[in-house]
Amino acid sequence: MMQRWAAHGAMAALASLAACGGGDSSESTGPSAQARLQLTVTGLVALDPVSQGRYEAWSLDAAGGATPLGTLAVNGTSGTLDVALPTNEPASIMVTVQTLKDPAGSPSAHRLMKGEWKGGRATLSVENALTLGNLPLKQVPGQFTMFSPSDNFMNGYPSFEECGVWLFNMAPRQTPQNDQWVRLSPLTPGWIYEGWMVRDHGKPDAIWLSYGKFVPDASGAITTRDDTGWGPFSGVEDFQTAGEEEFPGDDWFSNPLGFPFPSVLRLPLDLREKDATGGSRWTHVITVEPIADQGEPIGSERPFAIRPYRDDFGDTAPGTPRTITFRPEGVPHGDAARR
């Protein structure tokens, strides 16, 4: 028994040495001149360099000082970078989105992912970069609800409920928080959440309709309306200032103010619309967008790469809760390693 423990101890010590780069003098004393850093990120979308910017990698020292490593080459959903490892061993590696407006040589507020450099490796994730502190993105945020208050004062409830979506818990007792408010992880200052209804998600001609951008409060609760207020397609209401709702969401009921709107769609929308196979044509998506997108003209919104929540809208009746599902594949992540 003692011998077995001793053997285990020796193996554990060897494993620890190996994990720390033991046996390689260049790694224990600092990078060699030939050492390179290879970074691979998955889950990206190509950015328009003028309007959206580029993905930039950074080496951070223990005090948070940043040294640019270079711009990621994006191919499909992957981004790669192969550069000489900085002379000073990094404390962590970070990827940001840099726009033309951001000053050169320092990371922007759009911190996409970060990972601690340890033993010549770093696993990069959105925690502590995109999300505030070390919080992960919420795994069980709550519910979205089919509801269209636009005409309820005229036509009662339910009436045309299938033309709107709102972000609150219709069945609070079915949520971990047991209250009415959806929870999302607070984001660092460079980012904001945006809600969407997407027709034919995943197809080349998919239509993305934004219902607005919003941020949680310090506790993660979504307690305020989105940046388009009542909703530009809600009808005759003053959508910016009516103050009729306290949650993000919109009704696609009518378009009296003539905002740009896809010509293939008819108002009021039927978000329960089915395709030829009987499948739901509409999908609810929550993305994370650069804060610089805030205030973009209605009708010109486009989704960013970070799409952590996606659900078929489905065909269930008014008053039925719809659960928001976390999709890890919609969140970029990466690995950096010394080569």
Binding site: Y157, A171, R225, G243, G319
Partner: protein, 490 residues
């Protein structure tokens, strides 16, 4: 008039039988191996036959609406009804068995949860319809529980007047697929409660929901027949009895003052209530609720609290300073979450569900459980009336109106501030809960305190609002407990 069920209380009148065509040991083995689709027959709670003599709330007595005698055992009608049950049991499926289980046990629990869910939807998405305002939610639950309580007592009266054996007892052709409650089958208590509850809820529900409620009521009766616990004549008599009880409760409701529309003029001046952000609802909710008919306390104004602290006084400033500290980042995440918990539904709904959770842990008879529900509901309703009397007597402005720079963690409710409704009804409910479940009194008191504090944490109430509410609620609660304990039930 009422034949007492002496010697029945707390005992099983008969053991529920599950008849099988194979020897018991083989059957047991088969059931184990196959996972048996047969619903389990659970142990019935105590019966308390003497509940037929308990005081009713709206009916003159439990026997006031006693139905005529059921068809005699062996009669043509009884035989026809047995055939119907046999046919139902032959066509049973896993789906239909799940419906049997839904309607097993205490029927009032199912209808309470249905009502709370219904109000939850109205509360969340239809505030302007004003069906589920705080006071109206409390009123509806009190009416619901008064109707179901009287309906249960009325069935108890008839059950022991006629002592009809259930179909499963009367015929070897019928299997008892769930518990029959160990009570005589006529009239069906499940049908009576369903009919009473449906009528009360439908009178207050939106048109789209009434069909669903009727379907649930019909399902309850069908389930009891398919389970072998009730004949069709049991169910039909139960429906008739429940509807008759509900009619009387709705007659009372028609004159309780809730239909009156406030056409008064809001007072003006410093520290007087004004519409609050974000919705800025112009007409406050239920301005006349303080005049509604109460169940126990003499009137809404009977225990009116003293005036709130003078603005600028030390007590006033202390309350404002506390709110400003909280608004300036002084709230913890836990405080925010608990404030949201208490704000998510009508506050009465939270207490209604606490009662359900507590009853689910106990094996109380149907009448005793219905009694617990109705007195908690009545305490909360009377507390709301008392609170609304004070709110619209003093018309105190909300904190966000006095200092618009303060933030709240959700929108301020559209009615005056003093005293707090959450504090008033929670302390009234806790008093009754303490009397019903005394070994857990610390828990009820803690919940009431948290409900109170949550209103300050959220920024929608002053500290003195909740203190006045606590005192008022405790006073109302004690009055309700005194009345409850005067019914002679031990």
């Amino acid at each position: 008039m009422i034949r007492r069920g002496a010697g029945v209380t707390g005992t099983r009148r008969h053991a529920p039988r599950v008849r099988c065509a194979v020897p018991a040991t083989i059957a047991t083995l088969l059931l184990t191996v196959l996972g048996c689709a047969e619903p389990h027959v659970t142990l019935a709670p105590p019966v308390e036959a003497e509940a037929a003599n308990w005081p009713t709330l709206v009916l003159p007595s439990a026997g006031a609406l006693r139905p005529p005698a059921p068809p005699a055992e062996g009669s043509t009608q009884a035989a026809r009804e047995l055939d119907e049950i046999v046919a139902l049991q032959r066509s049973a499926t896993a789906v239909s068995d799940s419906v049997l289980r839904l309607h097993e046990g205490d029927p009032t629990s199912l209808w309470t949860r249905t009502a709370v869910d219904l109000l939850g939807v109205y509360w969340t998405i239809l505030p302007d319809v004003r069906v589920a305002t705080p006071a109206r939610s409390a009123r509806l639950m009190a009416l619901l529980h008064a109707a179901t309580y009287d309906a249960v007592l009325a069935t108890w009266d008839a059950k022991w007047a006629y002592r009809r054996r259930s179909p499963a007892e009367a015929s070897d052709r019928v299997r008892l697929r769930v518990s029959d409650g160990a009570v005589p089958s006529y009239p069906s208590e499940h049908a009576a409660v369903a009919a009473a509850a449906r009528a009360i809820l439908a009178a207050n529900a939106l048109p789209g929901d009434t069909a669903r409620l009727r379907a649930l009521m019909r399902e309850a009766g069908e389930a009891r027949m398919a389970s072998g616990a009730a004949y069709r004549s049991d169910v039909e008599a139960g429906y008739a009895l429940g509807e008759a009880v509900a009619r009387r409760v709705l007659q009372r409701a028609a004159t309780d003052g809730a239909d009156k529309v406030w056409d008064g003029v809001m007072p003006t001046g410093a520290y007087v209530w004004q519409p609050t952000p974000a919705r800025r609802v112009k007409v406050p909710f239920d301005a006349l609720a303080g005049t509604w008919q109460t169940w126990v306390i003499p009137s809404g104004s009977a225990f009116r609290p003293p005036p709130f602290p003078v603005p600028g006084s030390a007590a006033w400033l202390a309350s404002m300073n506390e709110l400003r500290m909280l608004a300036a980042g002084g709230r913890t995440v836990v405080q925010m979450d608990r404030a949201r918990f208490w704000a998510t539904e009508a506050p009465t709904a939270r207490w209604d569900l606490f009662v359900e959770e507590e009853l689910a842990r106990r094996r109380w008879s149907l009448p005793r459980a219905a009694r617990a529900r109705v007195w908690v509901s009545i305490a909360m309703y009377d507390a709301f009336v008392a609170c609304w009397d004070a709110k619209f007597h003093y018309w105190l402005a909300r904190p966000i109106t006095v200092d618009p720079t303060m933030n709240t963690i959700f929108s301020t409710p559209p009615f005056p501030s003093y005293p707090s409704g959450h504090s008033t009804i929670s302390n009234a409910a806790a008093q009754v809960m303490n009397a019903l479940f005394p070994e857990k009194s610390r828990e009820w008191d803690d919940l009431a305190l948290e409900a109170s504090n949550s209103r300050v944490w959220s920024g929608v109430h002053y500290r003195f609002d909740i203190e006045a509410g606590e005192t008022l609620g405790a006073t109302v609660g004690k009055a309700v407990v005194a009345r409850m304990q005067g019914d002679g039930v031990r």
